[in-house]
Structures are given as C-alpha cells and as structure tokens.
Amino acid sequence: MKIKDVAKEEFITGSLSCAGCGNLLAVRLALKALGKRTIIIIPAGCLSAVTCFCPQIPFRVPMFVSPFAATSAILQGVSTGFEFRGIKDINVLGIGGDGATADIGMASFSDAIVSASRFIYLCVDNEAYMNTNVQSSATTPTGAITTTTPFPDTMQETRLSKKNLFSIAVAHKIPYAATASVSYPLDYYEKVLKAARTDGPSFIHVQIPCPPGWGFPTEKTIEIGRMAVESSMWHLLEYKDGKVRFTHVPKKRIPISEYLKAQARFRRMKPDDIAHLQSMTNEQLAALEANQDKTPL
C-alpha cells in the first residue's frame, strides 16, 4: 500500500482536540479508509469531548455518543438493526478509548465480539483516562505517572502489567483483530480496510501517543509512536484465519530506556525497574516471534 492510495476526502476537521493529538489522527485515517457510508459510535472520552458539544460538531458522517459502558452493546444493536433491514453497505464503527474498552466496557465488549454482528471496534489507546486529566486505566503501563498513581512504586494499585486487549480478543476467537500505531499509518490503514471486509466483529487496538498526558512536545507524536514499536513496547500484530503474526517488524531496535526517557510520565522509574521491564519486554518479543503463524490456545 502507498500513500497515494490513501483517500483524499476529510471526514473530520475543526475539532477542539489538543495540538498534535494522536487520537484525532487515528480517527481521521480510519474514516478515510471507511468512507462516507460509515456511522460512528463514540463513548465518553477525549474524542467525544472534543467533537460532541454543539454547535462545534466536526464529523461529516452520522455519529452517536454512547453511554460509557455500552459502546459494544450499541454496536451490536445498530449492526443487527441494519441486518434486519437488509442494509449491507454501511460500516458500523465504534471508537472506544482504553478506559471505555478495557475497564468499564469490558463486559459488553467481551459479549459483542463473540456475536455474529458486523462491526469494527477501534480501541484508541492513550494509556490512561486522558480526558478527565490523566487517571490510571487498565492499559496504563507499569511505572507511568498518572494523577491516581503519582508515585507508581509506592501505590499498591500500580498495574502489574498493561491489559492485553489484543490477546483478549484473540482468546474470544474474533474473526479479525490487529494492533496498530498512528506512526505506521499505511499498516494501520490496511488493517482498517481488512476489518471493514470482515463478515462479523473485528477489533483494532491502535496506540495513540498523547503529548500532554505522556509528557512530550506536540511535534513528537509520531516519533514517540515509532519508538514504542522500535523498543518492542508495542507490536504490530494481526490475528486472521486463526493465526497471529507480525505485520511489520521495525528495521532497528532500541532499548526501552530511550522510549521511557523521552516521556515525562516515566521519570520516576528507577534503573532496576527499567532493567526488569527490559527483560520482560525481551521475553515477550521472543515468545511472539516463536509463535508466529501459529494458532494460539
């Protein structure tokens, strides 16, 4: 896939998001891939907060702001409704944040992805409840400073590990699942297209760097996302036809300390913690490489 294949039409301009918002880029690209005949369901979060207050509504496609925990259930309902009416050409896209998917929406998400409904669930993961001033969520990585984990090593609530939504979706045997990054836009774009072609539920977990929440300058959004993949703290995977594989392997690998040092939210991590995290990351990468093209349990 080449840049010239990316659709030119804009479906979201004029939102009140922060400068350099990774979330916005993810949505902009997804809508380009899906086109005009798409309807979006958005729960509470950064995205709805910057796009749902009238009269500043920047979407050019139908949109519904869903109750926080109910996104997946709404997706099931809309998709089934269209199916009942015999409408087959409308993309049903849910854009839930990490909190809305992995925390409060986990129950309905788990149910919807084993149904036969056709929808795309895009989890935009900025690794905390960013909209409400950066509280810790299920996908906040170990050691990250948030307003509810100000000193990550002293808080008993610090996560042992980031909840792996991709593995959860794969365990449900969803027809199609993928992880993506806005820093690898063509890989992400292709995944959205594949999800749209899936006859059933599909899930894309896209990492979206957040300048104010993670603590880096606004121009480095794409760079930080790139470093996440190069340091193996984020992988670009796909689950299709029952097998997991990498869709992109970075040309160079960097130690996680480079990725961590570039963000203010990891400034309280001690060298021991970083070393421990590095070894865990190495193990995880080795396991993924060993299990390429295999069917997971």
């Binding site: 005009k36 005949r37 798409t38 309807i39 369901i41 709805s48 796009t51 749902c52 207050f53 009238c54 509504i57 979407f59 050019r60 496609v61 139908p62 949109m63 519904f64 702001v65 869903s66 109750p67 925990a69 109910a70 997946s72 259930a73 709404i74 997706l75 099931q76 309902g77 809309v78 998709s79 089934t80 409704g81 269209f82 199916e83 009942f84 009416r85 409408i87 409308i90 129950a107 309905s108 788990s110 149910d111 149904s115 409904s117």
Partner: protein
C-alpha cells in the same frame, strides 16, 4: 375477533411483541421475566416472528442494544425486573433524554436485600425520574393490550419517549387467565410501521445524543417535559382507538370504580386493584360508600384527572407497593400533590402493603379503611404498614 387462549401475563406480553412486528429483541433473563425471553426466542427460531434476537451479557447492554437498533430504524423490545431494571437505569435516562421510542416490559419485583423474587413496585417506582412513560396493568389481557398500545404511544411523533409496561410478578406474570389474542390484521391497522427522528443515516448525517449547555440544554429538557405531558392525551387517544378496533377499554390514564358517590376512595396500582374492588363492594354493604381509583399511568402523573375523582371524597386510602424511604409511599406523595390547594381536600392515609410479594387480602384493606376513617385531621400524615401495628 381473536383467538382465546389460557395463558400467563408473560406469554401475553410475548404475544403482543409478536403482533407488534418487533424487529430486534435483546433480553437478559431475570426471574420473573424469563418466560418472556424464552417465548420470544421460540417465536424467532420457528420463524413465527421475523426478528433478530441479540444475546447480551447484562440488562445494561440489553437496553443499549435496543437503543442501537432504534437508531438503525428498527422497532426493538426488551424486558426486565428488579435488579436488572436497576442495572438498566443509566440507559433508561439515556433513552428518554435522547428521545428514542422504545418499549420495555417490567415485571415488578422487589429489590434486594432482603432478596425476594416476588412482587412489589419499588423497582419501577425508583425509575420514575428517568423520564420514561409508565403504565401499570392489572391482568394478562391488559398486559397484552397495553404492550401493543405502548408501541403506538412511544412512536407518536409528539411523544418519542420510552414506555414501560409494568406487570406484577407472579400475580400477573405467571398466573394463567383467559386472554383474547387479537388478529394480526387488526393490530396492523392499529399500529403503523416504526418511525423515529433519531436515525443514523449516511444520506442525512447527524450527530445524536450530543453535548449541550445552558439555554440549549434547557430547551431540550423542556421539549422532553412537553412531550411527556402530551403523552397524557396520546395515552387516552390510544385507549379510545384500541377500544374501537378491539372492544376493550381500560380507562386511559385511570380506571374508576364506583367513585362518583364515594366517601372513601382506595387508590391503587396493579393487580391488587381487583381485591380492592371486592373490598369496596363489601364496605358498601356495611354502610361505607367506597370506590376504587386504579392509576394506570404513573408517568405522566395525571394530576387533574386524579384531583377530579378524589376531591369529593372524605377519605382516601393510597395503597403503595413501594416506599420512598425518608418520606412515604411514592404514589401517596404524588396523590397528595394532585390534591394540593383544594378547598375540601380529603384526609389521606398511606397503606404500605404487598412488599416482597406479600398477599394483600380484602381483610387487610378493610382493616386499613377502618383505621383510616378514625382520622379526622386532614393535615395529619397517616401511614400504616401491613403486618405492623398502626404507626401514627
């Protein structure tokens, strides 16, 4: 003339849903509503009902899935009870605030703890502020007929508000009675195809259930208020039209029995109204002119109609199968509000009875009436609890 069958209230509701040509069903099971979910699943799998059945993991998701289907332009249905209805609470307010025409059946059951699967109105009463229309039925036949009417009321373009059809656990839901199931052709005449203004349509893109503040917010809330007030008229019209096609009249907002010359009127909701009418007849034989006012529409609360029926009575006994802790029974408070400002307002006694499925007998009601007529001070807030000594 429809077919007559010996069926329960739950089966009657399921039959109504089938006749209403519902397109998407999402029901999460909870006693005593489960037979509705089961009957509908059978109808869908045998093809008797052309509909899609969504399996959901909770009531919150059940009503959300219905909301989704509504926005896709399809008539949805769900049902719940007690804990499940409480879990749906957020979405009830969402459906009402967002102006979605949904219908749900509520089989009124007690809230835990203490755990009880039996009947009580607390579950739907505590949802009274969510902005849903609430209709309480007395029999399985009324449950069937009201469910069909509910779709018409909800989908009326001046209303566009969710409607809850409330039936008592076990006394209506699981008790069999002779029910006439209307003909599909007659129902098609009464109930037009589904319509909604909140549609997700790429040809006419809009954003639904968005944010607002200040004057814009207040404008939308005022619209909601007006819509539910308009529903009073729509409920009465639906009742009249239903009578003209099917021959059954439920009184619309209230059903009055021997209230014209009554000194003492019993106000009640739900299936125990039958017992109340028997008691009224017995009391009349003993010289107390008694009548029964069954409230059918709890929301919108028909203040004027109730005031008209009650203002000539000396005593009013409001039987509440619920309790708004910190005050009194909810129906009693609302009735009190309806009677405010009348020159000769009756003395009101609140009888809290039938909680946790307790049976309310004619004797219980007669005892309560006898307690009540001893009260002469209109301003006294008199409340009696079933089984407990009278609390003054």
């Amino acid at each position: 003339m429809g077919e007559k069958k010996f069926i329960t209230g739950n089966s009657a509701v399921a039959a109504a849903v089938k006749l209403a040509r519902v397109g998407v069903i999402a029901v999460y099971p909870i006693t005593p509503q489960t037979p509705i979910a089961e009957r509908l699943a059978t109808f869908v799998s045998t093809g008797e009902l052309n509909s899609k059945y969504i399996r959901v993991e909770s009531e919150h998701s059940a009503l959300s899935a219905c909301l989704g289907a509504c926005m896709a332009g399809v008539r949805p249905f769900t049902a719940s009870s007690s804990q499940g209805l409480a879990y749906m609470h957020e979405i009830l307010a969402y459906a009402s605030g967002g102006r979605y025409p949904l219908v749900l059946a509520v089989v009124n059951r007690s809230l835990a703890p203490p755990w009880s699967i039996w009947g009580e109105h607390q579950d739907s009463i505590q949802e009274r502020d969510t902005g849903c229309i609430q209709l309480y039925v007395e029999t399985a036949q009324e449950a069937l007929d009201t469910t069909i009417q509910a779709f018409k009321i909800a989908e009326n373009s001046s209303v566009f508000t969710p409607v809850m059809v409330c039936l008592d656990a076990f006394h209506v839901s699981h008790t069999e009675e002779l029910v006439e199931i209307p003909d599909q052709a007659d129902v098609d005449r009464f109930l037009p195809p589904f319509q909604t203004s909140m549609l997700l349509d790429p040809d006419e893109p809009k954003s639904l259930s968005i944010g607002a503040s200040g004057k814009q917010y207040m404008t939308w809330r005022f619209q909601q208020y007006q819509a539910i007030k308009t529903a009073e008229k729509v409920i009465q019209e639906a009742n009249k039209e239903f009578e003209s096609i099917f021959g059954r009249d439920y009184g619309g907002l209230v059903d009055a029995y021997r209230c014209e010359d009554a000194d003492c009127i019993i106000v009640i909701m739900g299936s125990f109204a039958g017992v109340a009418r028997d008691t009224a007849d017995m009391l009349r034989l003993n010289g107390i002119r008694t009548g029964v006012l069954k409230i059918r529409a709890f929301r919108p609360f028909p203040n004027q109609v109730i005031s008209d029926y009650l203002n000539s009575a000396k005593w009013v006994l409001v039987i509440d199968r619920d309790l708004s802790f910190g005050n009194e029974g909810a129906v009693c408070s609302e009735v009190r509000g309806a009677l405010y400002g009348l020159d000769h307002a009756p003395a009101i006694t609140n009888f809290i009875a039938g909680l946790g499925g307790a049976d309310v007998t004619a004797q219980d009601i007669r005892k309560a009436v006898q307690e009540m007529i001893k009260v002469t001070d209109v301003t006294e807030r008199h409340i009696i609890f079933q089984f407990m000594d009278a609390d003054k």
